[in-house]
Assembly symmetry: C2
Amino acid sequence: MPAGPDSRDGGSQSPRKASTIRDVATLAGVSKSTASRALLGQPGVSPENLEKVQQAIRQLDFVPNRIARSLSAPSPAMLGLFLRNSDSPFYGHLAKAFDGEADRRGYEVLSVASGDQTDDANYQSLMVLVGLRTAGIVVATPVVDPLTIRRVAARVPLVLVGQIGQPDNPEVPFVAPDPKDGLVLVDQVLAHGHTSVALTAVPPEQSPTQWVRIEEMQRHLATRGVRHRVVTVQPDTDLSDLVAGLVRDRVTAVLCNNDFVALDVLAAAARLGIAIPGELSVAGFDGLPPFDHEAVGLTTYRVPAAAMAAAAADLVDRLVRGETVDAGGSLLPGELVVGRTTGPAPTS
Amino acid sequence: MPAGPDSRDGGSQSPRKASTIRDVATLAGVSKSTASRALLGQPGVSPENLEKVQQAIRQLDFVPNRIARSLSAPSPAMLGLFLRNSDSPFYGHLAKAFDGEADRRGYEVLSVASGDQTDDANYQSLMVLVGLRTAGIVVATPVVDPLTIRRVAARVPLVLVGQIGQPDNPEVPFVAPDPKDGLVLVDQVLAHGHTSVALTAVPPEQSPTQWVRIEEMQRHLATRGVRHRVVTVQPDTDLSDLVAGLVRDRVTAVLCNNDFVALDVLAAAARLGIAIPGELSVAGFDGLPPFDHEAVGLTTYRVPAAAMAAAAADLVDRLVRGETVDAGGSLLPGELVVGRTTGPAPTS
DNA sequence: TTGTATGCGTTATCAC
DNA sequence: GTGATAACGCATACAA
């Protein structure tokens, strides 16, 4: 049974009811309208009333209810960010950069997480942003049901980031790393004379975008006449087995779908006593801190997270302001990070 | 100049006005109340009307306006997460775990970022959460003005996470890693016979919590009669100089304030040709993926991010539900991660 | 079972 | 310059 009202905790554990602009007006001895005008800094309020209102605001510690505000006012300068939060540093970097860009443009950004949830939970989470009537929404999570995207995009400006569009929704703008850029990793190992290469991948349905890149790489390898294979890695994949098998098959280079997998491969190689890069060259993908750190020494490809955030912010901003933007999207270039995990193919 | 209305983009670039429950009611041929009841799945609506309303909802693609809803209904099951987004994986892990915990308890979580902003921008961002009338707020950012915390905590349940409370706000609950746990890192190097140790740190005002831990470590080293020093690292610190200086002074172990700094130290040592751990032992702090990866091999201390998130979720939840919780907070234990960067002190 | 009327907190329109 | 009053979209007490 809770203590009675006004039990003596002067503190933060029993918040009183939030005060409204009405309370402010009453305390200041003016009408709601005047209080509102003073609050918004609008012209047409006498200095003395303005002072009284401001004092009342301070005294009551009044914070305007954004919820009620955006009901009547047409300026909900809030952007929604639907963000996957995984262990990957990509989303963190993206969020940080996007936040800065949005801030520069005068938006507040509200983010909700898309876990590795079910489609339904994902839908619900995204709908929070819609229900909040954010001015625009940026979706930064690999897989969202195209129908959901379509529905949301029909009512609020929406931009996809980190994926190269959805075939079903050709009109939804997107920002992604250029899938052609996977080729610089391929070239990197080809330059070292490797003639048998493995690519790791997650199942296509988990990341269609990744597969576009991988197919580009396959094609590139094929035209160069280099033997290659794609191996699927799942959370339960035994990397030791996999790496041992690759080496047994004379594969001398493995290009991983992300940096985590690359580290896993390196660890497996260490356990197996396989020399890196002497016997096996390994490269990652994403290349964001800390994976690109000199002390880690991983060869990888740095995805242009900050540039993507900036482009996405620009796109939503323009959509929100009513401009039309080109359908399709922009593919941004990243950069190769050369570490110590790739080297000349073994001569054996 | 924008195209006229109804220019032929069947798509998502020109969102029409969102439909309201009124539209639903009209289309279904019932009153707003009935539509509302049907929407909420409340009893007391005839099957045929329910069906009509549901169909209208589908047809109009109606998404209830949470904003308007929470104005009248007292069920704002939303939690605010005020999160620093830095390169550190800590916040990402925390956010992910917190999101899961909050979800389990039936909350939606909205997060806004506290950049490395000014106090004022920070205040504004936090006020977004307050203005949205979130049911509770979790603050996960190292430095927020105590007065701000006090003001916010006075109106909405608030929990600090990642910092060991604020002296000015003793009644605000908090969750943090146990500062005593830094000692296991100290013990780790002491067990290896090191007799001259360096601790890295950021300036105290940037992270009071970190300093509590460092002071514990200093005390511990002092009682063991071990020579030690604290060196401040800033973004512009030249780590090569610093490491060279330490080695010149016969320091044989350096315990870093976080894993990034540890990697920087390792890289500097590599440049200087200093053997790790032969000539210098290095340990980090935080120990979250990917820093704790076997392939990185860093000795570090894994902060209990998930447990902290769970504890924080439990605290806010209880506060939101009107329970009183103990003031003060909980200090959670993490665990030592032994890598290859620490070893016996050089015998020289 | 259904509809009408009222209120939530704010801004905007209009008289004064 | 100021203050009623309507409106925003929704939920709900109350009446029918």
